[in-house]
C-alpha cells in the first residue's frame, strides 16, 4: 500500500499529453527557477521540482552528479514515486543513467525491462537519460522516468535536452562561483595564518600554530611537523595533530627515511596515494593507518628548515593539484616563520646567557652609551657602590662614583675606553654614601657589528687586598726598622771591642808580652767579622725599607779599581790566588755612587777569593754599548750548579749551608750587590760551570742618576 500511494497520486495528478504550448510555458518557468538558483544543489532541485511539478506527465525526475574522486553518480535531487535518498551512490558500470556519461548523448529507452544494463527497480516503463555538461565537461545526468512504456515523444526529448542544457550552464556557473569563493576564502585564511605566525616568536607556539593552521587550511584530519637538525642530519617531529594515541613528537628520522626524510633529501613535495603500499615508508610508521599522504619540505632559499606532512584516514580523501597549490603557498611562509622563531629563540638564549653572566658576576659592571650615560649595571655594582640601577641609568658614571681628586682621571679613562682603548687602572672611587672604595678597574669599548655603541666599566673591590698589602708592607718596614736600630746599637759596643783589642795589640808589643798577641788578633778578627755582618744586615734592611739612598758623582774608574784591588789584596793572597785587572785604564769616567760601587766590587772579589784556591781572579772593565759599563769578575774556582745559581742572590743563602760553614761569610754580599746594582739602574748576572769557575757581570749605566 505504501508503495502504491505516490504512484497513484502521480497518475491522478498528471494528464497524459500536455499541449505543446503548455510545454513551452513550463520550460520558461523552469528556466526562471534555474536562473534564480545559486548553488549546485539548488540548481538540481530547481530542475527536478520544475520538471515534475509542471504536470508534464513524468513519474520520476532526478539529477545525478559525478563525484570526481570516485566516478560514482551521486543523487543530488529527485521527485517522484521512487524512494530515492539524496547522497545515494551508483558505482561506475551500473545503471542506465551511466550511458550519457560515456558518449555524451541523450538516451531514450522506451522499455527499460528490455535493456541489459537495467537494474530491477519499481520502474518497468520508459526512461530518458540526458547528459549534463558544465563548462564543456560531463558533470551529471538528468534522469526522467515514466511507469508506462513508450511514454516520451520528440517534444519531451527536446524539453528535457533544453532543461539539461540550462541545468549544465547553471551548475557550471555555480561551480565557478564556488571555486571563486573558495579561493577568496583560502587567500583570506592564508593571509590570516601568515599574519598570525609573523607575530609569534616563541618557537614551540609557532610550530604548533603552523601545523594547526595548515591542517585547517587543507581540511585534513592529521598533520605532523618536523624541524631539521643540521648537526645530526636528522628531522625531529616537533608538533603533531591528531596522530593516534601515541604522540609522535620527539621521533627522529634520518635523511631519506620515510616520507619526510625523502622530501628533506629531494627538496620536492611528495604525494603518496596509499602510505601502506609505498615502498619508502618508515618502520617507525608501520602501525599507522593512513591512506593518502602529502609531504613537503620547508625550505628557505634552498636551505632545509624542516618538513610538514598531512594525512587523512578517509580512504576517499586524495590529495590533488589544489592541495599542492595551497601547500606551495603555505610552505615557504611557514619555513620563514619557523626560522624566525628559531633565530629569535637562539638569540634570546644567548642574550639570557650573557645576562646571567653579568648578573651573577662578582665584578661590578656598568655599561655606558656613547654619551657616557649609564645604560645598565649589575647587582655587584649596586652592592659595591650603594646605588640601585634605577638611580644610575641615564646619568654620567663619572658624576656618580668619582671624588674631586679622581674625577679628571676617570673622565679621561672613559674617553679612552669609548675610543677603543683598553684601560686598566688602580684607583679609588666613591660610594653613594661618600665613603671611598679602592678599586682595580677595566674599561673596554663595546662594538656591535663594527659600530661602537658604548663602553663597559668593570670594577673589582681591592680594599681588602690593599689593606693586606699595606699591612704586609708595614710589617716589613717595622722589621727593617728594628734590624736597623738593633744593628746600630750593636755597632757601638763592637767598635769598642775592636778598638780596644787593637789598642791592646799595640800595648802588648810595647810591654813585651807578644804571647798575648795571637789571642787579641782573634778577638779583633771576630769582632770585624761580626761588624761586617751587622753592616750587611743594616744595608739590606735599609734597602728593604726603601731607605737606601744613592749619591751619584763623577769619578774616573781607574783609581777606584786600584783602591779596590789594594783592599782585596790580602784576601786574594790568602788562598794563593792571583788577581788580574783588565781594561780599567781605558774605562774613563763614570757617574755613579762611588761608595756602593766600591762595596759591590769588594763583595764580588771577596766572593771569588773565597771559592778559589791557587787560581786566577780577573777583574775586567769594558763598555757595553755607548751608555753601559760592565765589571766582569771571573774566577777559576769551584763554580756552581744551576740550582745553586738560582738561589745565589737571595738574602742569607750561600749556595749551601755546608759551603757557608766551610768558606765563611754572611751570604749577604751578593744579595746586597744585586740590590745596589738595581738601585743604580743596572744589574748582576752570573754564569758558572761546577768545577770550572764562575763569572759575575755587574752592569751599570755610564751616566747614572
Amino acid at each position: 500500500m505504501k508503495r502504491a500511494t505516490p504512484k497513484g497520486r502521480a497518475r491522478a495528478r498528471k494528464p497524459r499529453r500536455p499541449a505543446a504550448a503548455s510545454r513551452q510555458e513550463a520550460l520558461l518557468r523552469l528556466s526562471t527557477g534555474i536562473a534564480e538558483a545559486e548553488s549546485e544543489t539548488d540548481v538540481c532541485r530547481a530542475v527536478v521540482v520544475g520538471l515534475y511539478g509542471e504536470a508534464l506527465g513524468y513519474d520520476f525526475v532526478a539529477v545525478l552528479l559525478v563525484d570526481q574522486a570516485s566516478g560514482d553518480r551521486v543523487l543530488v535531487a529527485s521527485e517522484g514515486w521512487k524512494q530515492a535518498p539524496s547522497g545515494l551512490r551508483i558505482r561506475p558500470g551500473q545503471g542506465l543513467s551511466e550511458r550519457p556519461l560515456l558518449d555524451g548523448r541523450i538516451h531514450y529507452t522506451p522499455r527499460v525491462t528490455e535493456e541489459t544494463r537495467y537494474l530491477p527497480t519499481r520502474n518497468e516503463g520508459s526512461e530518458v537519460d540526458v547528459p549534463i555538461l558544465a563548462n564543456r565537461e560531463l558533470v551529471g545526468v538528468l534522469v526522467v522516468e515514466s511507469n508506462r512504456p513508450d511514454a516520451f515523444d520528440d517534444g519531451d526529448l527536446k524539453i528535457l535536452a533544453a532543461a539539461a542544457n540550462q541545468a549544465g550552464i547553471a551548475i557550471g556557473r555555480a561551480r565557478l562561483l564556488r571555486a571563486e569563493r573558495a579561493r577568496a576564502d583560502e587567500q583570506e585564511a592564508l593571509r590570516a595564518t601568515m599574519a598570525d605566525l609573523a607575530g609569534r616568536l616563541d618557537l614551540s607556539t609557532v610550530l604548533t600554530a603552523v601545523l594547526e593552521r595548515a591542517v585547517r587550511l587543507l581540511g585534513v584530519s592529521h598533520g605532523e611537523l618536523a624541524i631539521y637538525d643540521a648537526a645530526a642530519e636528522e628531522l625531529e617531529i616537533v608538533a603533531s595533530h591528531n596522530i593516534g594515541r601515541k604522540a609522535t613528537t620527539g621521533t627522529r628520522m634520518k635523511l631519506g627515511e620515510g616520507a619526510m626524510g625523502h622530501v628533506a633529501r629531494t627538496h620536492e613535495p611528495l604525494l603518496i596515494p596509499s602510505y601502506h603500499a609505498w615502498s619508502g615508508r618508515s618502520p617507525q610508521y608501520a602501525a599507522v593507518d593512513f591512506h593518502a599522504v602529502m609531504v613537503a619540505p620547508l625550505l628557505i632559499g634552498g636551505h632545509l628548515v624542516g618538513a610538514i606532512a598531512f594525512m587523512d584516514r578517509d580512504p576517499a580523501r586524495q590529495f590533488g593539484a589544489d592541495d599542492l597549490r595551497l601547500l606551495n603557498l603555505f610552505a615557504p611562509q611557514a619555513a620563514i616563520a619557523i626560522e624566525n622563531a628559531r633565530l629569535f629563540t637562539a638569540a634570546q638564549q644567548q642574550r639570557q646567557y650573557f645576562q646571567e653572566l653579568v648578573a651573577n658576576n662578582p665584578v661590578a659592571i656598568a655599561t655606558l652609551d656613547l654619551a657616557e650615560n649609564v645604560v645598565s649595571c649589575n647587582p655587584a655594582f649596586e652592592s659595591m657602590y650603594g646605588y640601585t640601577q634605577a638611580e644610575v641609568v641615564g646619568r654620567k658614571l663619572d658624576d656618580l662614583i668619582t671624588t674631586e681628586a679622581t674625577r679628571q682621571e676617570a673622565m679621561a679613562y672613559t674617553q679612552q675606553a669609548l675610543s677603543h682603548q683598553r684601560v686598566k687602572m688602580i684607583s679609588q672611587r666613591r660610594r653613594k654614601d661618600g665613603t671611598l672604595v679602592d678599586i682595580e678597574g677595566l674599561g673596554v669599548s663595546v662594538v656591535v657589528d663594527g659600530t661602537p655603541v658604548g663602553a663597559m666599566a668593570l670594577y673589582h673591590d681591592i680594599t681588602e687586598l690593599l689593606k693586606a698589602r699595606r699591612e704586609a708592607e708595614e710589617a716589613s718596614r717595622a722589621k727593617s726598622q728594628f734590624l736597623a736600630s738593633v744593628s746600630h746599637e750593636l755597632r757601638t759596643p763592637l767598635n769598642a771591642i775592636i778598638g780596644y783589642s787593637e789598642l791592646l795589640e799595640e800595648e802588648v808589643e810595647e810591654l813585651g808580652v807578644p804571647q798575648l798577641g795571637g789571642d787579641l788578633e782573634r778577638i779583633e778578627a771576630s769582632g770585624r767579622l761580626l761588624l761586617s755582618l751587622i753592616n750587611d744586615i743594616l744595608d739590606l734592611s735599609k734597602i728593604e725599607a726603601g731607605k737606601m739612598e744613592i749619591f751619584v758623582e763623577d769619578f774616573p774608574v781607574a783609581p777606584l779599581v786600584k783602591d779596590v784591588t789594594a783592599m782585596v789584596g790580602p784576601l786574594v793572597e790568602k788562598r794563593a790566588n792571583r788577581l788580574v785587572v783588565e781594561g780599567a785604564a781605558e774605562a774613563g769616567d763614570l757617574r755613579a755612587d762611588r761608595t756602593k760601587l766600591t762595596q759591590m766590587l769588594l763583595n764580588l772579589l771577596s766572593n771569588a777569593s773565597k771559592f778559589t784556591e791557587n787560581g786566577t781572579i780577573t777583574l775586567g772593565v769594558r763598555k757595553n754599548g755607548a751608555d753601559r759599563v760592565e765589571f766582569v769578575v771571573r774566577d777559576t774556582g769551584i763554580g756552581m750548579t744551576e740550582e745553586q745559581m738560582g738561589k745565589l742572590f737571595q738574602s742569607f743563602s750561600q749556595a749551601e749551608v755546608s759551603t757557608a760553614s766551610r768558606y765563611g761569610g754572611t751570604g749577604l754580599g751578593l744579595a746586597i750587590t744585586k740590590k745596589f746594582s738595581e738601585l743604580m739602574g743596572g744589574g748582576v748576572t752570573v754564569e758558572s760551570v761546577p768545577g770550572a769557575g764562575s763569572t759575575f757581570i755587574l752592569t751599570l749605566p755610564v751616566r747614572g742618576s
Binding site: T492, N495, A496, L503, E506, L531, E549, F551
Partner: protein, 124 residues
Amino acid sequence: MPRILLIEDNEMNRDMLSRRLQRKGFEVEMAVDGRIGVEMARAGRYDLILMDMSLPEVDGWEATRQLRAAPETATVPIIALTAHAMAGDRDKALEAGCNDYDTKPIELDRLLGKMAALLPAAAQ
C-alpha cells in the same frame, strides 16, 4: 808635637782614640760636648780638630759652623767623624765647613793618613 782637640761624647771612643793617637805622638785634649768643644777650640791653639757629629748641647755641624765663623778658628783643619757610612752625612759635614770626614769604627791608619794630609807641615 801636633796638638789635637778630640770632641767626642762617648767615653770609650774618646779614651781609645786619644790613647792610640798619643801613642802615635800626638798631644790630645778632649771635650765631651759641642759647646765645650767650641769654647776650648777658641781658647787654645790646636793644629787639628777631630769632631764627632752627633754631640749633646751643640751638635758637630753647628759647632763646625761656629768655629768657622770665629776668626781665631776659621782656618783650623776639622775632620768630621760620623757613625753612619752615609754619603749624605759626609756632604753635610763638608757643607758645614769640615775639611774631611772619616767614618766610625775608626781605621787608625786611614784616619792618620787623612790627618797627615791636613796638618801644617810645621806641626808634623
